[in-house]
Each structure stands twice: as structure tokens, then as C-alpha cells.
Symmetry: C2
Subunit: 463 residues, 2 copies
């Protein structure tokens, strides 16, 4: 019998997060304010609580996870590491395929790892209400869940196309007591401006972020802050518990360090959570291929410049050094709503620039085909975002077969697709098509970045 | 730190099922054929494979679980036993509340325990195609999943109201390659007959069972059989792995035998799965209160006679000795579709008659109120069926507080409610009402049973 599930006990959970910023070959470029100068922690204070800002700029390699946060994480962590033996058999691959199952959290994805952590830090800081945006709804439901557990109010701006496609996500948020509205909304200046210009827009994460930040900073009581589910350093940090657990789990069964590590990347957090602890190994000499995957329809990592850009459409965020399609880019309405973002986490972006990460883009149809094969072998129904990791894992397993190599492949099973079945319906009915961003359109958006400052990476070491 | 999750390793899984029929104080009454005489195994052969019929009539107390079935169950079993510490804290109860989490299987409920087992036995017997009915959709998706894993075809007749209310369930079945139609359908004589008489019917499990059996027995190749997700002895048997795992899990943490064991009961299988191993203890002298719960709108156990009745509307099944509202009863369209069944498993029914089980009925609004409290304390969203167990567990925890007693309460968390969020929406919008079956209507249906044979229970022992 092959072991299919590897569990850790609660007292085996990692007790520190890993901060890749401490180990990047060149220093991380700072966020810039409207004047082009690096912003100071104080300038972020209206948006985030100071304890999270300290994490955001921390140079420490290891950061302690507070005991009270661990107590909340124990509700569903440590999560199982599973081996995809049925997929292996189907593919007749000599590869061993492992996946970290983040779909078992109550909201159904990896997102609560940082949601409960951020809610806890905000509460410690005296905050009573959080605002946020959500794409596919995974993040919004995770923050709704977290706020309910911590006794905070929660307001979610949900990208219109997902709001319409995924009514169940809104109901989840309501069940956990959150207030969820379609974005662009009439509740903020940013939303009203967009609606005036583009009344039929399907919305975007960039727009929804503008709305959520505006709603936070305009609350005069000072008790509201904004919470972001990806992109920022402290979010990546909180997710590293995923990869750190995997290391213990692989050790437990005597498995070697993976040859290939894969995660889908929208803003970058589930990828980073799994991969960064292995990037550490790679920096220290291990031979690992580390692959963030994205949609061809929104090719941030594979086709966009590494540039300074805003995280949101209304340019309320500081300029971040990242791969960006341009803050005015509105991605086509593919089903992987969580991957429809114009930017990419600075830590992931710099990892690409430094050659530590090798991004890859996949078409929607191939991803659904992979999901269906997954459902019919491994038996579970995956989120459309996660299918971008599965497609890559399958490719790599087939390659291992062709090469006759017994590779170890690891990917992050970031969420289940039980709220995303309309996408499966469209696929099964043959209604989906593939879409590649035309070069001329890409250039148009990229041109908008020309007048902004350029990040400089001073490479050191062998990368 | 209180342990919130208790896991078993794969090699600690129970290797035998428990058959309550071996221990009931009086012998189980046989099913009867159309002539009023006990039916023989041969008469069931067009409907079920002989290996399952042998289990159905087995007098053995312990029945080995085949190794190959265990291999399939390992995909998600053993399932965790959890302690509801947050609910306990909220209720300020001295009770310790445990729940067996059956929601983590790929289809999201306890149903796959018997689905994969039945599919395996059918395949062993040379069967190539299974038909079935489904109410809420939990069973249909479980059998679709099981058939895909075993390489069988699957056809599901889904009760119309659920088919309309829960399109995602149908999509799950399609993702696993099954063919799912709304029942009553035009595909069977039984369906056409009902549609002619009641074109606007919301459907019922009784009707859908008639359709599925007709579709199985009318296949002339002889390679199709019917599969039932509850009611029958062999289904109860397969589910006892739930309670047997719980016993090992309680022992692992040094917890005593529960004072109170609770499960919701539609056909009886999730209740039986958790409770029967504890009924064994009760028969052997343990003081345990064992409570199957049901909706006030479909009060099979609490208000209907113990009688011989058909399991389906078109009277295709044998007469079974059970509590029954009458095979023509069409329950009101409450959201707990899995509890909308006119009958109850003979083993559960006889347990009630013998005084081993004490059924209780709950109104829909109280169940949703309990679900919401559960979501906002324990953090997960439960199936409307399961909420009938949670409502009872909360009642018992409050009673323990009033009595100042440190009781141990155990219930079966039979499934998640992620596909059932429209019910939550109706509840949150104040659109739901409670419904009690009027006495005169109950009597009308019960009168139909008068001309059928009466089961005789020859009680023995102290029950």
C-alpha cells in the first residue's frame, strides 16, 4: 500500500514563518510614493496596522507565529500532503506527484492562512473593521470567515464578473456575517468614476482594490483598515507555513527534496506559500525547478515588464516593483477569477528577474481538460485557478516519463472548485475558447508604464 | 491547548463492518413480496448483485471489509473526529461535544462510504452500469464519483425540486461522468405515469426510486443493477465504519463512551453508521441516549406507524418493515432534501420499536438558526440535513449546562452545505417558514397502510 495522505500532528506545526526578503540575492526594491521617493512605514499607517507594516518591511529571515494565531490555524492545519497515485498510474509516469491540500479549510482554499493572521494583528492593534476586494471570492470568503472568528466587521468589494458568476461565494460571506457588494459599486468615488466611464465593465481586482482602500482610509473613526489577500510581503510570509509543513511531511516519509515545485499565481500568495521555503533551498544550492503558472489570457509573469506600477486602477496604492500588465489592464473574463490580476507580488517578480523562478502560462481549455482528468482519477473537483498548477504538473509528469526519470513533483492544491462549477458546465458544453493577449494590446498597456520610475535589481551571487 | 482534531492512521482503520441485525433483541422481520410471503434472495437478483444480497440478509455480527475496498476508502478515510470547542465556549456548556467529520470526502458527505463499496461489489459481480435516485444530490454525486473510480456507467434520477434548487450537484455528477436527469422523467413508465397525474409535482425519493429500479430491471443485457444510498441493511452495514472509527478515536484521547449519540435520519444511513456500534454497547449494558433526528415536515420516526410498506411510490420494491408515512406521501419542499423520505431503514425502525433509539423532530427555522451559530463559531457551513443533528446537539449541550453535568455528546457531521447555499439565502432573507404535517393529512396517508401485512416484533431481553 502506498501512503496517500501524510498528516502532521498539531504540535508538529511550524512555529515561524520564512521571509524570502532576507535571502534574495539582491535587495528588494522599496515601494515608492507619488513623488517617486520610497515610502515610509508611517505613510502606510492609514491603510494597514503598524504591526503588519513592520512585517511588510522586515529583513528578518524567520518570524515567530504568535501562539494565538497557531490556535486559530489548528482549526484546519496542519493540512495534509497527498500523493496523486491515481493520476500517476493513469499517466504511467515514473514521477512521484505530491500535492499540498489547502482545499480543506472552511472557506476552501489557502487564503485563510493569512486572513486569520491579518485579522488577529488588526484586532491586536485595536481595529474593528476590515475592508477588502475579492476576485473569484476565495479571498473574500476567507476574510469574512476570519473576521467572524475574531469579532471584526468585514466589507468585501467583489469583482462584478465573479459576483455574477458565483452567487454562492457571496452567500458564504453573508453566512459568516460579512457585507459583500459588486465592484465597481456606487459606494466609493473610485467605483462611481469607473461606472461612469465603463458602465458595462466586468470589473477587475485593480478596481476593487481601489474601492476597498478608499472605504478604509475614508472612515473617520480610524478603526477601519484595509486587508489584501496577496501581492504584499507580509501576505507571502503568512503563507509560507504551507511549504514549511510540506518539508516536514516529506521528511516524515523519507522523501527527497522535490525536483519540481509548482503553484498557480494570480497575486502570488499560494505559489509563494508553497515555493519560498524551497527557493531558500535553491539559493543554498539545491537543484529545484520552481514554476509559477498563470493564464495565457493574463500573462503577467511571462510577457509583462518588471516595472514600478500601482497595485490598483485608481492609483491609490504605492508604486510596487513588479511584473505588471499595467494598472489599467482589465483581463478577459476567464473562469480563473483569482488569476485575473495585472500585477504580481514583488517577491515573486524579483525571484523571476533573478532567475530563481521560471514562470509558465497555460490556456484555459488545457486547464479544464487537466481538471477533468484530475476529477476522474484523483476524485476531487478543483478550483479553476488550481487547474493551472495541475496542467503543469501533468506536463512535467509526462516529461519525466519521456525522459525515464523518477522525478519528485510537488504542487499546491490551492482550493476546491465546488463554487466554480459553472466553469465546468461551460467547458463540458463546449462553450469555452482560448484567448491570447495580442502583442499590440499588451504594448498599449505597457506603454503606460514608461513614465513611471524603473526598479533596479543589483544582482549578486550566481543568480 | 485542547485537541480539536483526532486522526487515525490508515493502518488503524477498522477492518470489519458491524451488523446490528446480529444483535437486535428480536429478529429482523423479512421483506415481503407482492403475495405477502417473505421474498427470497433470488427474487432480488434482477435488482442487486448476489454478493450484496448476501450481505443484506447476513446474520453475521462482523463482516470483513475487502482489502480493495479499504484501498479506495483510504482516499479520504479515516475521517477526523473533531471537538466543537468554540461552540462549547459559546454555549458555556460543561458538555464536551464531538463530531465525526464526514464532509471531507470528495463528494462532501458520508455517502461515498457505501457508494464505492457497492460499486466495487457490483463490479466484482460483472455489472457494468448502475442506476440510482438522489434527493439533495449527495447520494447521486457519491455514486457518480464511485462509478468513475471503478469504471462503471452511472445514471441518476434526481428529485425535481433538488434538480432545480441545486444545479451544482448535477454538474458534480457530470464532472464525474454520470448522466443525471430530473425525476419524474419521461424516460420510465413510472415517471410518465406520475407526470400525467401530477405534472407540477416537486418529485420525491419514492418516485425517483421507482424510476431507477425500472431502468435497472428493464435493461435486457443483464449488466445493469440498481444501487440504493440508504434504507437497506447492507447500506447501514457499510456506514458502520464511521462509528467504529469514532470508538478508536475516543479511546486514543482517553475519552469515555458518549452519553448522547445523535445523527440526522432521512433513510437512516449516516445515523446508523455513527450510532449502530454504540447501539451494540447499549444492548450490552452501556447507558447511552441515542437520538435519530428528522424534520417536523416529514416526521417518519416520530409520528408514523411501524408497518410494512413499499420503499417507492410505484410499489416496485418489496414491502419493508419500517416506520412509514405511506409510499404515496410527497413531503413538502423543505431544504433538507435528503430527509424528504416517507420511510425509514428497517434496522433503525426496529431500534425505535425496541426502545433502543429515541427519535426527535426539528423545525427548519431552528435548524438554520443552529447552522448559522455553527458557521459563526465552528466556522464551517453545514448541509441542511446535518443541521438537524446540530440543533439536537445544541439542545443537549444546553440541557447539560442546566443540569450542571459534564456530558459527552457525539454527533455525525454528515456533510457540508457548500452546494446548499440557496437555503441559507432564503433563511437569511427571512423567506422560510416552519411546517407541521396536520394530523388529518397524516392519517390519510397512514390509512393506505391498513390493508398491508403488519410486522410483528417479538421482543426479548430488557428492551
Amino acid at each position: 500500500m502506498t501512503t496517500k495522505k501524510i498528516f502532521l500532528k498539531e504540535d508538529e506545526i511550524p512555529r515561524q514563518w520564512y521571509n524570502l526578503a532576507a535571502d534574495l540575492p539582491s535587495p528588494l526594491q522599496p515601494p515608492l510614493g507619488p513623488d517617486g521617493n520610497p515610502i515610509t512605514p508611517d505613510m502606510l499607517a492609514p491603510v494597514f496596522p503598524m504591526n503588519l507594516i513592520e512585517q511588510e518591511v522586515s529583513p528578518e529571515r524567520w518570524i515567530d507565529i504568535p501562539e494565538e494565531v497557531l490556535e486559530i490555524l489548528y482549526r484546519w492545519r496542519p493540512s495534509p500532503l497527498r500523493r496523486a497515485v491515481y493520476l500517476e498510474q493513469h499517466l504511467e509516469t515514473p514521477a512521484r506527484i505530491y500535492y499540498k491540500d489547502e482545499s480543506l479549510s472552511p472557506p476552501g482554499s489557502h487564503k485563510p492562512n493569512t486572513a486569520v493572521t491579518q485579522a488577529w494583528y488588526n484586532k491586536q492593534f485595536g481595529i474593528e473593521r476590515l475592508t477588502t476586494e475579492t476576485g473569484a471570492g476565495q479571498w473574500g470568503s476567507a476574510l469574512a470567515f476570519a473576521c467572524k472568528l475574531l469579532g471584526l466587521e468585514c466589507k468585501v468589494y467583489m469583482v462584478r464578473i465573479s459576483f455574477d458568476q458565483k452567487p454562492f461565494r457571496k452567500l458564504m460571506m453573508q453566512t459568516w456575517g460579512a457585507n459583500c457588494v459588486s465592484s465597481p459599486s456606487n459606494e466609493t468615488q473610485a467605483g462611481r468614476d469607473i461606472l461612469e466611464k465603463m458602465p458595462d465593465t466586468s470589473g477587475s481586482l485593480g478596481i476593487a482594490i481601489s474601492e476597498a482602500i478608499e472605504a478604509a482610509v475614508s472612515d473617520e473613526t480610524g478603526k477601519t483598515r484595509y486587508s489584501l489577500g496577496s501581492v504584499l510581503n507580509h501576505v507571502m510570509l503568512h503563507q509560507t507555513i504551507i511549504g514549511l509543513e510540506v518539508k516536514k511531511q516529506l521528511e516524515l516519509i523519507g522523501e527527497r527534496t522535490p525536483d519540481i515545485v509548482i503553484g498557480c499565481a494570480g497575486g502570488g500568495s499560494n505559489f509563494a506559500g508553497l515555493a519560498f521555503p524551497f527557493v531558500y533551498d535553491k539559493i543554498n544550492g539545491a537543484e529545484i525547478e520552481i514554476i509559477p503558472t498563470e493564464p495565457e489570457a493574463c500573462p503577467t509573469m511571462t510577457r509583462a515588464h518588471f516595472a514600478y506600477d500601482h497595485g490598483d486602477t485608481a492609483r491609490m496604492t504605492p508604486l510596487l516593483p513588479m511584473h505588471s500588465l499595467g494598472h489599467t489592464f482589465v483581463p478577459p473574463p476567464i473562469h480563473a477569477g483569482g488569476l485575473r490580476y495585472h500585477g504580481m507580488a514583488p517577491l515573486v517578480s524579483q525571484g523571476i528577474v533573478e532567475g530563481l523562478l521560471k514562470p509558465r502560462a497555460y490556456h484555459q481549455l488545457k486547464c479544464y481538460e487537466s481538471s477533468l482528468l484530475w476529477a476522474q482519477t484523483e476524485g476531487t473537483i478543483t478550483a479553476p485557478e488550481t487547474s493551472h498548477a495541475i496542467a503543469c504538473a501533468i506536463d512535467e509528469a509526462i516529461k519525466a516519463k519521456e525522459e525515464g526519470k523518477e522525478k519528485v513533483i510537488l504542487f499546491n492544491y490551492s482550493g476546491h472548485g465546488l463554487m466554480d462549477l459553472t466553469g465546468y458546465e461551460s467547458y463540458l458544453n463546449g462553450e469555452l475558447t482560448d484567448y491570447s493577449l495580442p502583442d499590440e494590446e499588451l504594448e498599449k498597456y505597457q506603454d503606460a508604464l514608461k513614465d513611471l520610475p524603473k526598479p533596479e535589481i543589483k544582482k549578486t551571487g550566481r543568480w
